[in-house]
Amino acid sequence: MLRWMPDRYRELRDLVWGARPDRDVDEELATHVALRAEELEAQGMTAEEARREAQRRFGDAERWRRETLSEAELEQRGRHRTERLDTIRRELRLALRSLARARTFTLIAVLTLALGIGANTAIFSVVNGVLLRPLPVSWLRDLVVVQGDLPGLDLYGTPISVGEALDLAERRDLFQSFTAYSRPTLNLTGAGEPQRIAAVSTVGQFFDVFGARPQLGRLYRAEDSRDGNHKVVVLSHAFWQELTGGDPRVIGTSLRLNDTAFEVIGVLRPDFRYPRTAQLWIPREVLPQHLVPEQRLTLGLTAVARPQPGLTVEQLRGQLGAEAKRWHERYGGQAYEPTAQHTVVAAPFVEFLAGQLRPILRVLMGAVGLVLLISCANVASLQLVRSTGRARELAVRAALGAGRWPLVRQLFAESLALGVAGGVVGLGIGALLIRLIARSDAAQFALLRDVRLDGAVLAFTAVVTLVAAVLFGTIPAVRASDVAAGEVLRGSARGTSAGPARGRFLQGAVVVQVALALVLLLGSGLVVRSMNRLLDADPGFETASIHTMRVALSGARYGDRGAGMAFHDALLERLRAVPGIQMAGMVYGLPFDNLDNSSPFNVVGRAAAADEPKRHARMWYAGGDYFQTMGIALVRGRLFTDADDGNGQVVSVIDETLARQFFPNEDPIGKQIAQGIESTIVGVVRAVKKDDLAEPDKATIYYPFRQTQWMVSNMSVVVRSTLPASATATALRAAVRELDGSIPVFDVMPMAERVERSLGTRRLAMGVLGGFAALALLLSALGVYGVLSYGVSQRTRELGVRLALGARPREVVTMVLRGGLGLTAVGLAVGAVAFLGMGGALGALLYGIGPRDPVTLATGAALLALVAAFGCYIPARRAARVDPITALRAE
């Protein structure tokens, strides 16, 4: 047997350059032949003979080389895999063990990250659902909504008319597909209880535009709306389930809608839900009388189109403007009043969908970004503080030969483990938040109900997690590995190892955290204060004990105006007779029912003054004791009476806004206004908020219900009742049923609830922002605490010396507090400047308060300073308790 020793040089070379199996094998085989030849030569052969004999004995050299090499390569591949896995496993085990030892640190760091990431996931899911993917269509981002603009009337983004829609649908050079639809509610009878159905009445290629496909049967085509003969209907998946329990035999059956039979021809797939609440789709009946010039501005259709590829929204706008000009020439003043400056425009459909949520989402995205930044800064400084505590451990390892990179790698592994843990917990928090958002009041916004955590959101969160992990992992790791081993071990150690660079980094982190937290705190403070002002805002009517419902008469039975009037009279009569109901009235244009009806008007005999706003006013109809019931106060003149009927002079009641804007220095009573019809103003009432407590005042004209020229089929009934809400609702329903069992009643709700619903989005924003602000406060307090603790632990010896030399504990406390509060003050100053600089960002969410409100600023800064002071106090007390003897001996 041979004696040998390992070839260290060779091991090292393989380690550095990677093993080369081919060179290895060649050398091994060559060695064999050489050794054999040497031995043979020693036995007396000539060198040449020995070489040949050795080769003969070795055999087919090429074959053995090939076979050996293939084995060697397999071997190497296997070994690499195990080695890599081993390294990762080892690093991870080390990291987990080290994290488990520092339990408080780990808990705080994971929670910090999880909250930042979780909130991010939730908000991103909402943004994703609302802005990015509300419909299962790959070309969603290409779709445009086509709307009318009438700058002369201050009207923008209006629907379009049937005639306009049909003209636009012809423009195949602009649109691959085009549709326009309205959303009537229809009475469904003959299938159990009469129901109100949310329908979509379409012209053009509705299903092509949105890429809808049938689950059952077929969909109708654009031609089906061209004449009135195609009475067909397509059902939503949900409504099909509700109606028949998912019976496929529904195809070919008939539904009675508004007393007309429609044949069911198809059922849509479950993932198609646009418009969200729609239950069925029907081709719109287009008759010649809809296409006369006078109807060109009967704007009732929402138009959505898929433009031809390569056409930008700007080019499209140009083409649409030219099309509108052609209409003006063709139909002239009969249809398009020149002063209205009518034109047609296109806007991205996704923006139209996101609607009023957009400004809030933007603010929330900003807030969530800030929280994530704070979280990262916080974890980074926590890491740094911790790594200092471990300076000795790291120095020992470095001295024992561990290089810089293995140390960095270990710290990185710890950060990664933290990041992953934070990400996982954060995902859970995110899922929870999303559930809360979907259940919140804001979920009346159809899009929010469908939001859920999806793949894209998961990917986004994963990226955020990784970036966060790298961010807070790398910086402290690189810094920590800077520790000069000798210094630490020499014992001058704990006092000096930090170095000025690290101190500056930590101080910077604190300043950034405090500044960001202040921005968040002030933002949410403004939103909260806006909300309070809003809740105190006077809507112009009373909400207590007022109950409302909507009643819709079908045209077939109540087409005659007299029959409709008689029904409403009888209904009010019946309601007044219910014990507990004091007053009853009805109105078209109930506050907070989200209906809009407005048109231009003129003051008869007077040209518009130069400084006057546009003459455009809301147009409502009131009957019974509407104003008295709602508590809308009369300011001048009189309210409507029963005498204001078809036989009397046409009268109107205007609101304070109109009086102020158009009759500033005179009494409007007795003046004539013309809004389609001419009427005499008999009264002025308080202004009323229509659909939002924060909305600006808009001139409003009320007409007596009895003097309407046509039948208003969709009236709201209001009663003042001392009964409980549920009893009132029952009484309202019963009164309608007793009069006519086929009339659907819907939207039965106390007035207060209507107003409350309108606040949903704001409440959501307030809740989320408030949560963020609380989180930011907590995080920055933790940040200040962590950094000061670090500072105190660094200065233990110095503090010990001071105490030994007679400094009083109080003085030490003051000294430490001064340092911490100084940093806080810098952070507050930076935050305040940043906040003042970006003051406008909250605009849409504020009400009754300026974006730079000084009271909010002062309160927010004081609150944050207080919380930071708490964060300073604990380490300061610890500093005062330093025992001089221990502190000095420890070195």
Binding site: D24, R36, F58
Partner: protein
């Protein structure tokens, strides 16, 4: 006398050669020749695919080293797993030999 090596027995012989300590390839070949008095003949090159196969299976550990006269060579050592393999192969081989011997020494019934 020359015997061709029965398929699969080379592994066992190599393991046996390493049972007493690390050796390099040439050393293993020489040990086999000496121990069997040159009765077994194989192409010496066939040793190497076998050695690498066995290290891949974890029976052997290979390491470059320097011999007494400072020649660089690859040394093979038996691992615990290799030792176990040797025992089980030796046992199987013994049973095989016994069985064959019984057949050869059998008398007509």
């Amino acid at each position: 006398m020359r015997l061709d090596l029965v398929q699969g027995t080379l592994d066992m012989l190599v393991l046996k050669a390493l049972a007493w300590g690390p050796r390099h390839g040439y050393d293993i070949a020489r040990w086999l020749q000496q121990t069997t008095d040159d009765a077994l003949t194989v192409e010496e090159g066939s040793l190497y695919p076998a050695l690498h196969r066995m290290s891949r299976r974890g029976w052997l550990k290979a390491e470059w080293g320097l011999s007494e006269n400072n020649r660089r060579a690859k040394y093979y050592t038996l691992t615990a797993q290799g030792r176990q393999q040797l025992h089980s192969e030796a046992a199987t081989w013994g049973e095989f030999i016994d069985a064959v011997a019984k057949v050869l020494h059998a008398r007509p019934a």
